[in-house]
Homo-oligomer: 303 residues x 4
């Protein structure tokens, strides 16, 4: 589990946010070990884990305590609850993804036989060339980029974004191999609907696609529908525009999803906003998290 | 309610499927009327509605009873359950959206003050020109198209699709005006996550966007984050890239979502597939539903 | 399914309510049959059933439309919703148990290997003698009474209740044989907690016991804790005070529960109550349902 | 919150278990305080609390690691999961009620206007005399006994139980005053069904009653149905056999429930049981928790 958390943790390179968050996870319940078990085993009861938030306690939040950071959830929380915990963004903080990484590490233990892998397929306006898509390349560069020719383009883009004190968005692709046919249920428990909710609930996500996604709108029925033949190991699809899901149920093909993340709204430029007191102010969100946010989710899905 | 069902019902023009489905809805419970009530009132208990499926009973399903229609959920259902109800697609039938229309009509009664409207913004590869986007135009043509100059382009496209016995996809945009700030909840009940699940669960949906959506990945933080000022009626956002949702909570701006639909897989061309018996066969799905599928959701969201 | 509904249906003897309710159930979805299936099979998707309420439409509800029947849910519904459907008691009608019988018939199909049986063990103040408890006797008398010597006592009691235009309560015992060890889950999904909720949700239920129930409060630890030995087929309990559930999880012993039902509040005596209009009135609930209510649940649980 | 936990904590008298459990609760999330708030306020997001389990770590569990304690959940857990955490009973430990006390303290803050109070109304075979029932007396003796004349009877009973190394059961009565009419919902969210589940889910609970409970089975309809008149503050019930709930919805009367607890199965007598290894053994559960278990729930409900 800690392996995945280390992958997620920001501050590991010049391209990502410099916040230091030692994400040490403690397992509170649900596992057990004695002389008869072969190491730690689950007890069948809920596994409870805790990651303490150390970084945020000592920071200075006086600016954002008064005004709503534009692009952040500050105003929406205040409008809903009448009070907000402005330290580190509260529950809307991107640090929340640390909990997903920890839970994902447990999920990987359960999903033996299923391989889940992720890649960043677009940063800013620069998408990878899918003809050069190579999963192995995602381990060879700091961007989890599957296309080596795109790496220098992203480097230049991020350098210019960093110098401008700005931020940039990204698209992440996740693929699950080895999912058997039959996961998901009609109408109320559709696999694609549940994936869409899960992915859209990641901080900063603004779009979700399955398979051909928005591109499928431009296709004809002949182009889109994946034909079938018999292979050596059973049914064989001749393409995968469906992204492995038909009628909300997995088809046995790889499940493919993409998520679009907006650029973090923590930038060094002064921005127009309003304060709780009713003033119009200009605010600079001090701790710029240049594209860490965009990269966090891919750590979640990295194998 | 019947008004909305009539709008959804296929077979109303040469461009949409010719199936006749008299979608008469019966309210089974949850409403009450006596001399003291001003017409029918809800009792506070669940409203149960029934739409009988008349059309499908008399049809000939012998072909698709044996083989899996490519692009449909036939194989996924069979892999999951070992049996499938092939009459009309079972629970994966696009007719399921009739239930959503009926439920939506009830929801509209509850959401007084909220205006929900929809438009088709792309058919096949042809997107509307957003500079000419005019909601009023959606009532002036059979495609719920907000851009009059796009109407003839879609007509030509659909004519050619129809002649080819093919089908085409579409993108629908839905907008909710008057949503107050504060809907949705952090982490587990995010408004955007729930909308994503709801929209992705519509038959044939393959992608969902909120606000700037996938486009936000290409923006900088300055471009994307919506600045704020005070307006006459309270906080005023200077743009709406967020699509009305921040941190999973509504901000008071219009909630904007888009859904991509794949082309229906019921086409007149022979397609490669396999049968339950283990054969490789070529199948033509008889009842082509040329772009009815793509249009159905917009009826759901029409005002 | 109809077999069980016939057992539940009132009006089958002089001792129970004379209302005629033809409980014909229609299966709306979830089952399928073609030449390849061996009769009707489930499709894996939800089974929806409908029982139409015919009896109540033509009755005269003018009295109870104005005043709250004491002991019934009339006032509570009105206080909650500000409106109530007084025809037949609305959702608080004992006819609601017909839906439980229909659903229970489906559940029995699923729970092959589990035998569920019920008995009435007390009517009014007259409990059966447990030394004479014989499950086979429950089929030999109209009261599902397991003790033949108690039958004439109940007959006399019910005759006097009927002549007085009054009603009486009852206790029903339900037993599930063949439940394997391991059903239920700790803390949030305890089997006894879920059974307690299910049984308490039956109309007129006021108490639920598992195993020794309230009697266990009077026992010592030695008397109460069920000792264990090895039997021919695995662990063997030497008694069953636990009623087959320990820590919220089934132990492999018979699961035993009892439910207490209050007497129906529909009686022929004038009772003090108030009206919606603010008056103090005396009301006689016309359609006395002498102990039908008490017997309905046992039909639900009859094998 | 700590006030209630102190009331729950065992080891406070000679009559209850001598285990020392310093139940210190830590609030992990959901509250916030700054210069503008008047002390700690809730943020609207989940309140997470943690009570560390210190006592159990150093104990010797070698006996019960091998054999199943009769009357405990050991065997049921093992049958379900194939592994069990025997330290302190795992999730089936009566210490779990500490979490309920902590959560209950939060619930009390929310339910302003509602007074919740509890009393022990029976220990072993000795029930209180309800004619002498006086809520104020529950604070005057170590048994939360509402009847002073019963106190010496319980003292003698518990002394004899303690000397015998045995244990005894109890019945607890809980009353909620000030519950407005209208809580609970028909069929699926009945207030009595939810209370029954909640109370039955407390460790060692074997029975739950609402209002007249099992006693209502012996009543006639005239005796049981609570008549109504108009009082100064609205509808007035002339009795409360219903325990404040009609049709699953609160009526505005006090909500009254009783729970029966079995005697703890941790006693000093050797008891027959079996071991994981397949042996028949006699086991003495070392740490006898004489009637602590029975008293724990009343602490939960004490005002």
């Amino acid at each position: 589990m800690q392996v995945w958390l280390e992958k997620r943790r920001p501050g590991q390179g010049k391209f990502v946010t410099q916040r230091q968050e030692p994400d040490a996870v403690t397992i509170l319940s649900g596992v057990f070990e004695d002389a008869r078990t072969d190491g730690q085993v689950t007890t069948g009861t809920p596994i409870s884990m805790m990651i303490e938030n150390i970084d945020q306690r000592s920071r200075d939040y006086s600016d954002i305590a008064q005004a709503f950071r534009p692009g952040h959830a500050d105003y929406a929380y205040f409008a809903k609850y009448g009070v907000r915990d402005y330290r580190g963004g509260g529950r809307a903080s991107a640090r929340e993804t640390a909990a997903r990484v920890a839970a994902g590490a447990v999920a990987r233990k359960i999903l033996s036989g299923v391989t889940i892998r992720g890649a960043v397929v677009q940063i800013g306006p620069h998408a990878v060339n899918r003809d050069r898509f190579d999963w192995d390349q995602t381990h060879e560069n700091p961007f989890w980029c599957p296309d080596p020719d795109t790496v220098p383009i992203w480097e230049a883009h991020l350098d210019s974004i960093r110098k401008a004190g700005s931020s940039t968005g990204a698209v992440v692709e996740v693929e699950a191999l080895g999912v058997p046919a039959g996961w998901g249920a009609p109408i109320y428990g559709k696999l694609d609907a549940e994936l869409a909710a899960a992915l859209m609930s990641i901080n900063a996500a603004k779009g979700v696609e399955i398979g051909a996604g928005f591109g499928s709108a431009a296709l004809t029925g002949e182009e889109n529908a994946d034909e079938m033949r018999w292979g050596n190991d059973g049914p064989l699809f001749l393409s995968n525009h469906a992204g492995g899901i038909l009628g909300g149920i997995s088809s046995g093909q790889p499940v493919v999803a993409r998520v679009a993340f907006k650029p973090t709204s923590s930038i060094l430029t002064l921005r127009k906003t309003i304060s709780e007191a009713g003033d119009e102010v200009d605010l600079r969100t001090k701790a710029a998290m240049i594209p860490a946010l965009a990269c966090a989710p891919c750590r979640w899905s990295r194998r």
